[in-house]
Symmetry: C2
Subunit: 434 residues, 2 copies
C-alpha cells in the first residue's frame, strides 16, 4: 500500500530546497519518491493521499542528547549550579527512586512529549535501558539507546564491569528490534577511568556504534582533570585513542580553538544543549565556531531536569539566537543551518545519517508536518525562518516514524492523555513526599 503525503511546502533538508505543492510517496517504512505533486499523483494513481494544505513537511527532529526517564523530575530542582544540582538534588532523588518502573514510566512520558513536539528520534543516556527501549517500542519512537557505564555503583549496576556486561546483554537482546539503535555511554571523564574508556572504544568500533559522553560541560570539570591527570579531558581521551568518528562529545561548552580543530580533524561529533548549558550556568558553547570548523554537530535538549522540557524546536531557536548574540555576528547560524543541525546534523552524529535526518528515496519515513495556518504565524515571507523563529511545538500536527503515524491533529494516536497525566501525578506525589 502506497501513501502520498501532499504538503503545501516540502523541506527535504538535503539537498536544500523548499518545494511548493510537493509530495512524498511512502511504501511500508520507507520513502520511495518525492517531488512535484502532480507527477507523483500520476505515478501512483492508487496511492492513499493525505493532503496537508497549510503544512510544511520535513524530516523528524533528532534530539541528540537526553535522559528521557528524568522527565519524572521536571522542575524538581531549579536555580542551582550543576554540581549542587547533581550532588544535592538529583543524585539523592535518583538514588531513592530510580528503578525499572521509574524508567518505563518516565520514558513513556518523555516519548509522548517528544513525539508531539516533532522529535522522532532521540539519543538516550540512562539506567535500565531495556525498559526505555520497551517504552519506545510501545510508543513507536526511534531510540539510540545509550548504555551507561560508570565506575561507581548505581541503582542499575555495580561498577564498570557490571555496567558493561549489562550493556552487552541489552544490545544482544534488542539488536533486531525495529527503530532501536545503540550507543555506548560512559557518563563523563570524571566518573570513568582510562581503562574503561579504552575498552569502550574498542567495543564501539567493533559494533560500529557511537561512544556518547558528557565532555567539557563546566570549567570545574576541565580544571579538576588538569589537577588529576595533568591534561584537559579531551586531551586525555585523545591520548587514549578514544576520539574518532564514533566519538560524540555532549555539551563541549569549553573548547579552545585547538580542541575544535581536533574534534573536526578526528571526524568526531559534538552535541549542543543550549538551554541546559544556560540553566546550569555552564556557559555558552561555541556553536558557530564548531560549524565554521566543519565539525559534525547535533542539538540536544538534555534531560527535563535541566531544561525543563523536551522541546527541540525551542532549543533549535535558542541555538541560532545564542550563536548570533555570543559572536556579535547576526549572520551566523541562519535558519537553514539551524534546521540542518536539528535533523540531518543530529542524525549524522548518531551514526544514523544513512537512515534518517532528511527526506530522500530509500530513507526511513520519519516525517513531521507543521501547520502554518495559525494567525500567530502570519504573514510569512520565508518558510525556513518561520520554522526556526516563529513555530511552537503545538504547531506540529502530524508525525510519522518509519511510516507509522504516531501523532494526528497534534495528539498521540496510541496514548490517552488522561492516562499519561495520571501516571505523572502518581510519581509526583511519591517523589514529593520523600
Amino acid at each position: 500500500m502506497i501513501q502520498l503525503l501532499e504538503p503545501r511546502w516540502l523541506l527535504p533538508i538535503e539537498p536544500w530546497s523548499v518545494v511548493e505543492d510537493g509530495a512524498v510517496a511512502l511504501e511500508d517504512r520507507r520513502i520511495i519518491a518525492l517531488g512535484n505533486r502532480r507527477e507523483l499523483r500520476e505515478k501512483y494513481p492508487d496511492a492513499h493521499r493525505t493532503v496537508l494544505p497549510d503544512h510544511v513537511l520535513l524530516p523528524g527532529l533528532v534530539n541528540a542528547h537526553t535522559h528521557a526517564a528524568m522527565t519524572l523530575l521536571r522542575g524538581f530542582a531549579d536555580d542551582v549550579p550543576l554540581m549542587t544540582w547533581l550532588r544535592q538534588r538529583i543524585w539523592p532523588v535518583e538514588g531513592r527512586w530510580v528503578d525499572p518502573d521509574f524508567v518505563t514510566d518516565g520514558t513513556r512520558l518523555a516519548a509522548a512529549e517528544m513525539l508531539r513536539g516533532g522529535v522522532t528520534c532521540f539519543a538516550d543516556m540512562y539506567f535500565f535501558p531495556a525498559q526505555a527501549i520497551e517504552a519506545c517500542l510501545r510508543s513507536g519512537m526511534r531510540i539510540l539507546s545509550g548504555q551507561v557505564v560508570v565506575d561507581a555503583t548505581t541503582a542499575y549496576a555495580n561498577g564498570s564491569a557490571d555496567h558493561l556486561q549489562k550493556a552487552a546483554r541489552v544490545i544482544e537482546q534488542y539488536r533486531d528490534a525495529p527503530g532501536v539503535h545503540f550507543s555506548l555511554a560512559p557518563h563523563a571523564p570524571y566518573t570513568v577511568s582510562d581503562e574503561v574508556f579504552v575498552s569502550l572504544k574498542v567495543l564501539s568500533e567493533e559494533l560500529g556504534i557511537p561512544l556518547h559522553t558528557h565532555l567539557h560541560e563546566t570549567v570545574d570539570e576541565v580544571e579538576e582533570s588538569i589537577t588529576q591527570y595533568g591534561v584537559r579531558p579531551l586531551e586525555r581521551l585523545d591520548r587514549l585513542g578514544v576520539v574518532d568518528p564514533h566519538f560524540m562529545a555532549v555539551h563541549a561548552v569549553h573548547l579552545t580553538d585547538d580542541e575544535i580543530s581536533l574534534l573536526a580533524d578526528r571526524g568526531a561529533s559534538a552535541v549542543h544543549c543550549p538551554t541546559s548549558n544556560l540553566k546550569l550556568a555552564s556557559g555558552v558553547a561555541r556553536f558557530a565556531d564548531w560549524l565554521a570548523a566543519g565539525m559534525r554537530v547535533g542539538l540536544g535538549t538534555d534531560g527535563v531536569a535541566s531544561n525543563n522540557r523536551l522541546d527541540l524546536l525551542s532549543d533549535m531557536r535558542l541555538a541560532s539566537l545564542l550563536a548570533k548574540g555570543s559572536t556579535g555576528d547576526a549572520s551566523v547560524v541562519p535558519a537553514q543551518q539551524a534546521l540542518w543541525a536539528a535533523t540531518l546534523g543530529g542524525a549524522n552524529a548518531l551514526g544514523l545519517g544513512h537512515l534518517i535526518g532528511s527526506i530522500g528515496v530509500d530513507k526511513s519515513a520519519d516525517l513531521i508536518a507543521v501547520d502554518l495556518s495559525d494567525q500567530d504565524l502570519s504573514p510569512m515571507y520565508d518558510v525556513a525562518s518561520h520554522l526556526v523563529n516563529c513555530v511552537d511545538r503545538h504547531h506540529v500536527s502530524d508525525v510519522w516514524v518509519a511510516g507509522r503515524q504516531v501523532v494526528r491533529h497534534s495528539e498521540l494516536v496510541d496514548e490517552d492523555p488522561a492516562q499519561l497525566r495520571a501516571l505523572a501525578t502518581t510519581w509526583q506525589e511519591r517523589i514529593r513526599s520523600s
Copy 2:
C-alpha cells in the same frame, strides 16, 4: 454584577504567594477581593462563578517594548546585523508601505497575538499612533501609546516639531479613552537632538508620563556618540537632565557598572529585550546586575521584525536562562523574579504599577489563566518554575482586560481567525511584490 474566578492556583505576584484553591472577585473593571475560595463564595453568594480547575491565575503580562504594527514584517529580514537590518531592509520597506492602514491592520494582528499569549498591556512605539490606539480599543487591549519623535521626516510627520505637534494632538484626543495610556518616545539618541530631548523631558514631567527611548543598543551607537558628542549616550542624556523616574531606557545592552548605578539612583527604568538583542547580535544585557542594583526593570519582545513573535512568555524564559548563562551563576533570576519582571516590573516601568501588574484590591482586572493540565507539563513540583520554564503561550486559556474577557479557550472572543489570516496575507502579497 460580581464575578468570581476560581483557579486551582492563584499568583498575585505582590506580595508573593501561591494560593491553592484561590478566588478573585471582580466587579465591573476592578478587582474587589482575593484569597480563599470558600470565604469569597460566602461573601459573594450571588456572584457568577468561573471555575478554572487546572489553571493558574496571574496578572496579565506586560510587554514593555514593541513596535506592534511591524507584525506585518514578521520574518521579513533575518540573519543580518542591526544597522544593515534597519538601513537596507526595514527602513526601505517601511518607507514604501507604512501608512494609517498598515498601522491599523498590523496593530490588530499584534494585539491578537499578544492577547492569546497572555499579554494584556504593551508599550508601543510606532508611527500613526491614533490608528494603533483605535485597533486596541477595538480588540480590548491596554496600550501605552508611545508618541514617536525623530528629527527626520517620516511617513508620519516632517521633523521633530511636527512629530511633537501630532503627539500633543493624539494625547489630547484619547486622554479619556479606556485602557489607553501614553508615553513620549524619542526614537534614539542618534536620531534626536539635545533640544528635542529637553523639551520632551519637560513635557513628560508635565503630563506625568514616561519618556521611552532606545538606548545603548549596540557598541556602534555608543562609539558614534563619543565621536559626535564626546560622551556616551546615557551621559549625554543625563547631562540634559532627561534621566529621571519617567525615563525608560530600552535595550541598555551596553552599560558599565557606573551606568547601572546611575539608572538605579535616578529611579529610571530599563527594558530588557533578550530575543531581539541576540537576533540582531547586539549582545547580552546585564539583566541580573540590573536587578541586583535595584534598577526598575521590565521585559519586552521588541517588534516582530526582530523577534519574530510577540511572545513575552518566551522572552521571560530567555531572560532567566540568559542571565544564568552569562553570569555563570545558576541562582540569578529565579522563576519568581522573572515572573515579577514580566508583570509588576513592567507595569512599574510604564508608570502603571498602581493600576496593573499584580492581583490586588482596587487594581484593574487584567488577568490571565494558564491551563496546566497538558501532559507536557507533568509532573509539576513548583507552579512558578513551570510558568517560566515549561509553559508555552498556547497554554494560556483565558484572558481578561479591565474585567472584559477577550480570550476564551485559547481563542479570541471578538476576532475571527480566518479574517486575521486573510488580512495578513493581503499585506504579505503586497509587500512581497514590492
